[in-house]
Symmetry: C2
């Protein structure tokens, strides 16, 4: 997987950067090594230098110097991306946003906050707690909000609260020439010009460097109830989800874990659930509205062969349940420590979900592979946690083939090759399979906004 890419970086840039920022420009081999790969199995490409900026102004200064030298700039959050997003394919400087980690403003009255990109989702929620507020988007990792914005991340709450797409109100961005822009005001809606906010959300650092983010936040619901319910049949579990969504029940979380995943979870997180196909559910609202939702969903689950609801009553127990859900990938990996995780990520229209998941499950068995399934099924999104020993060429080939069939199956169902992980450089060809001619429009935008291809080059589109 890690074919060498020739470094085309103008290393003179580093001298200029050092003359300006001194020892803060770190070029030590060991530090650069750390920033060369994410959590995926993709190849390792260390940058030539690492710098931790303190302000938008500093980012702009760095980018201006890099623009003059045509030197790549790769923004870095927590390194938890899954498609090689932060690999320095062509060398360059890694901007480690870890020190831009302040919550700048909480506008409780407007239900929004302004944060720096290095703030993580858990850090933000800790900060908001005393205001009675929370931020719902929760990918598995405790990722940075900059990285989450850049990859259009989502998580377990998207079915009620949307993804980063729906929850970013405005961004401060340093463009490829060092210009600083603000994409929008704080008002809830606007029809003023092109939607630059959404253009930057999901652009993976290829169109600009995000230095400030205005996010929607929410009042902590009066009542939160979580439950676990097991199903003997995978297809019928998914059908229960589909009916819940089609009835418009405002459920907050509805997550699927198949039998293989429940086995891994029980072992890794010391839990004691039936090792069947299982839904993790959560309801948010007032006392009465939660009661009403629960009653309806219980009936739906019963009708689809689900067992009794196992309720988590206390906050602590609930947090433990959802932490276990977030640790699913690590749990799966623990089943086979010498394998690497390959996290797949398709999303289909909800009407096709049962078909897509059951066909995929059969395909896993037929491919003789180990791949527990976990999914944000309320959105039509699910993952395999493919466990692959990359030193075994036959297994590697079977995994590749399974993954390709899975993506093509989703595309044939009018779905997407990535619900929430992004393209990075791991899915460049799948993006073309999905979007066709539209990729040439993306390429035109990239070339126009970053004519020298210095911003995270080699990701999303080849130019």
């Amino acid at each position: 997987m890690s074919s060498a890419v020739e470094t085309v970086a103008d290393l003179g840039a580093i001298e200029v950067l050092k003359s300006k920022f001194g020892d803060r420009i770190v070029t030590s081999r060991s530090v650069c090594h750390e920033f060369g790969s994410d959590e995926s199995f993709h190849g390792h490409y260390p940058p030539d230098a690492v710098f931790a900026p303190h302000s938008t102004q500093e980012v702009a200064e760095i980018v201006k110097i890099c623009a003059r030298h045509k030197f790549p700039v790769i923004p870095y959050g927590t390194g938890t991306s899954l498609e090689g997003h932060i690999c320095a394919l062509y060398g360059g400087i890694c901007l480690n946003m870890i020190e831009m980690n302040e919550v700048l403003r909480v506008n409780a009255e407007d239900l929004d906050v302004v944060v720096q990109p290095g703030v993580t989702r858990k850090q933000l929620n800790l900060h908001l707690k005393d205001n009675g507020l929370f931020f719902p988007i929760d990918p598995g990792a405790d990722a940075s909000l900059g990285g989450m914005t850049a990859t259009r991340a989502s998580g377990t709450n998207a079915v009620q609260y949307g993804t980063m797409r729906e929850n970013v109100l405005s961004l401060t961005v340093v463009m490829a020439d060092g210009k600083i822009i603000k994409t929008a005001r704080r008002s809830r809606k606007s029809a003023a010009g092109y939607d630059l906010t959404h253009l930057i959300v999901g652009s993976e650092g290829t169109l600009g460097i995000i230095t400030e983010i205005t996010l929607r936040v929410y009042g902590i619901p009066e009542k939160i109830s979580s439950a676990v319910v097991a199903f003997p049949d995978l297809g019928r579990a998914v059908d229960a989800v589909i009916m819940t969504i089609q009835l418009g029940i405002p459920i907050a979380r509805i997550e699927l874990l198949d039998d293989a995943m429940m086995e891994a979870l029980n072992s890794y997180s010391q839990m004691n659930h039936p090792e069947e196909h299982t839904l993790f559910l959560e309801f948010h609202g007032t006392e009465d509205s939660v009661q009403e939702q629960v009653e309806t969903v219980q009936v739906i689950c019963e009708e689809h062969g689900g067992g009794h609801f196992n309720w988590t009553v206390h906050t602590e127990e609930r947090n433990r349940l959802w932490q276990a859900r977030h640790d699913a990938a690590y749990a799966a990996k623990s089943m086979r420590p010498n394998a690497q995780i390959w996290a797949t990520d398709v999303c289909v229209p909800i009407s096709r979900l049962a078909e897509c998941i059951t066909e995929t499950k059969t395909d896993i068995v037929n491919s003789n592979l180990q791949a527990p399934i976990v999914g944000h099924v309320g959105d039509g999104n699910f993952h395999l946690v493919l466990l692959v020993d990359h030193t075994d060429p036959d297994e590697e080939a079977r995994a590749q083939a399974l993954h390709e069939r899975m993506v093509m199956r989703a595309l044939e169902m009018d779905g997407t090759c990535t619900g929430e992980h992004g393209i990075g450089y791991g899915k460049l060809d799948f993006l073309i399979a999905e979007h066709g001619e539209a990729v040439s429009v993306m390429r035109t935008i990239k070339k126009a906004l970053d004519p020298d291809n210095i911003l995270n080059p080699g990701k999303i589109v080849r130019v």
Copy 2:
């Protein structure tokens, strides 16, 4: 207001178009005249020709010819825009989308539909009714869904359902070179590449011609209740709205009409409401959840000096109420038949809304102008229906000054110059005031995607 802009169009294009499409290319003066202005007071600029395409393919063929001749192409829905969006400032051909008015597919199971751009919002809702579904976005006019997408329209339901921004899933678009693209698949979320859907939503025909739209739709709620409540004090009425939103009550509609507007409405729509500052409310949900919402909002309104709730019980009565709300601009105009309507459109963070509206109300009085206020106040968005006699230069100047102060007041409060009407060519300078450097990024995108500036030239950005 209607200063002449010299026609730079290459009229040779018309000959080529006629050789291809014959009499369907209409160049009669009277027809072209009809398509030269929208519902605003902005100048009249007729196109050189009008054509009603039947398919995406035909639009692509037209655009390809126009691209060769650098001949402007202006898409046209129902002509109900409010900032001169459809004026042919530089001549060219008007694409009247009226004959592309089919609902192509209803995916009831996925709660989405695929429509052609000429379908109007009322037509869609009529079509959906038998499926138990509805589409919530409702600008005042019975606008086309293509036009609503192009202007990022919203309306009275946005507080619960969002605007066109949140409800367009995917678009088929003809680009400036005639290339046909699809911006996304039908899955509810995706992290696959740049968000071209949102780039086209709100681009007002300047980046591409929309020929198919996939929209989210919703189940008709089990229970819908509407009420009207009057307040003696404008600021306190708005404060009641602010508290409702801040408490996260999932109200569907919360509209403000000031005393002047209620007077106009009573007269125009033969209603009999108190002529005080009034909120029109609507609650969607189950029987129980609506009951719960109503109880909370009633308490909030009482605490803010609101009168008793006047309920509309029957569907017919409710429809009459909301039709009256949608007719607000026409009602205001009827107060002064020889004046023209100037519909202003600011939107601010909700915490600043009371201040923004009350200062504006004082400004209207001090300016000695007639301008009833109506607003989607749950979003922080409100309009003046300024009634201006443009033949009176002094009144015209006072209206201009009032409008400019109103926009600047909103911008100072971190709001926007347009919540839902768009930029057209009427707000080019306000866009710059609002976005600063970001406008140069918009201009770069426009130049890259439409290098010869043939798509609705002169709108959103000057190139």
